[in-house]
Symmetry: C2
Subunit: 226 residues, 2 copies
């Protein structure tokens, strides 16, 4: 007797997010409501909620009376996102160094440990979830709803950008750099922690192809232009 378990809006968001991050969903494809509803076996209303949440996170664009499409972030968008991330994460680390408890540090270290494990076993899905989760955890510990929400947004957007613009197949945002940041925070060395964070973000950005070179795209006009 297996009870029919219903999937929540949040779970739909996460599944779509992961599909985009893992490049199974390409930019430009339309996410039709009924299609998703049947895939997840939920009502169309719930799918709609998930879609507006995904739009808020910058993963899809909703065109009125047309539908929802996976976003195609431009190179400039990517640079803007990283610019804002540097500022926001700098602030997060700053505030985290001011006040952090032993329990918080334990949570951070445990998280990094999980990341290491996922990396060793090459579990792609977990690696994606955890590497974003680390940055989110930092914001969560700070305790500011605003910073947390902003980070959520930025990480979602970064996932999309990474999916579109990363050249090699290795996933960035490795656990080692995270570990260093945690230890700097543990020592209360704000200056060092901030420096490490900025370096980390620059490293992530540097692994992307953000040159203006034309890339394969679903945009017919762009693809067929000479």
């Amino acid at each position: 007797m297996t009870e029919r378990i219903e999937i929540s809006t949040q779970q739909i968001v996460e599944r779509v997010w992961l599909s985009i991050a893992e490049r199974r969903l390409r930019p430009g494809v339309q996410l039709k409501e009924e299609q998703l509803a049947s895939i997840f076996d939920v009502s169309r209303a719930r799918v709609r909620q998930a879609l507006v949440a995904l739009e808020r996170d910058g993963l899809v664009t909703i065109i009125p009376n047309r539908g929802a499409f996976v976003c195609q972030p431009s190179v400039d968008d990517a640079k803007d996102v990283f610019h804002v991330r540097r500022c926001v994460e700098r602030r997060v680390v700053e505030r985290l160094c001011e006040a952090n408890s032993k329990a918080d540090l334990t949570r951070l270290r445990n998280h990094v440990a999980k990341e290491r494990l996922a990396n060793e076993k090459d579990m792609t899905t977990d690696i994606i979830k955890l590497s974003g989760g680390f940055h989110l955890l930092l914001a969560e510990i700070v305790g500011s709803d605003f910073l947390f929400g902003t980070m959520r947004d930025l990480i979602a957007r970064t996932s999309l950008i990474t999916a579109v613009y990363r050249n090699n197949n290795r996933f960035n945002c490795g656990p080692d750099e995270h570990a260093e940041i945690v230890e700097a925070i543990a020592k209360g060395d704000a200056e060092k922690a901030i420096r490490l964070m900025e370096h980390h973000l620059e490293h992530v950005e540097s692994e992307l192809d953000l040159n203006e070179i034309r890339r394969p795209s679903n945009d017919l006009r762009a693809a067929l232009a000479f």
Copy 2:
């Protein structure tokens, strides 16, 4: 024969936003769906959409199965918002100096002129809309959906913060400082434009009561604590 004109979701958002900015809606009050639906004479479904939009902009908090309440931003929240604003607006101005057309400058100057007019005639509602609108216009001209959306969010939050923490009755964000910024952009003097913008934001922030002094609040527990 007046046709019954229906109010859109976006208009509901704006009306609520202005009510909050003008202090007619105090932090903590509940926005009941049916109540709003009858006020605006629309379906409850549309009100719900407006509420999730307001939540995204950080103006209301939605507690599941409880309802939507006007947010009560903390002093730390306020500081975080201004911190992020400084970074984002810096970026906006930076990009605007790189490339701006004659038409864009005209739009900016016209906007500032409207601000002046509203200030002279002491039209509170217009002053609020236009002073936020100036910053939004900058982001719009840059042409980045990401920066535009982020600014939208930040301005909405700033409105709430200003409503809660401003001490005098004068509305900040005056048109003179805006005008100076526009002229710096017109000259393509990025450095000066950025400096003026940062000064402007600091000025706005400085007119707020962001000391840790306890303030009157709707939170009974906090108000009655000794």
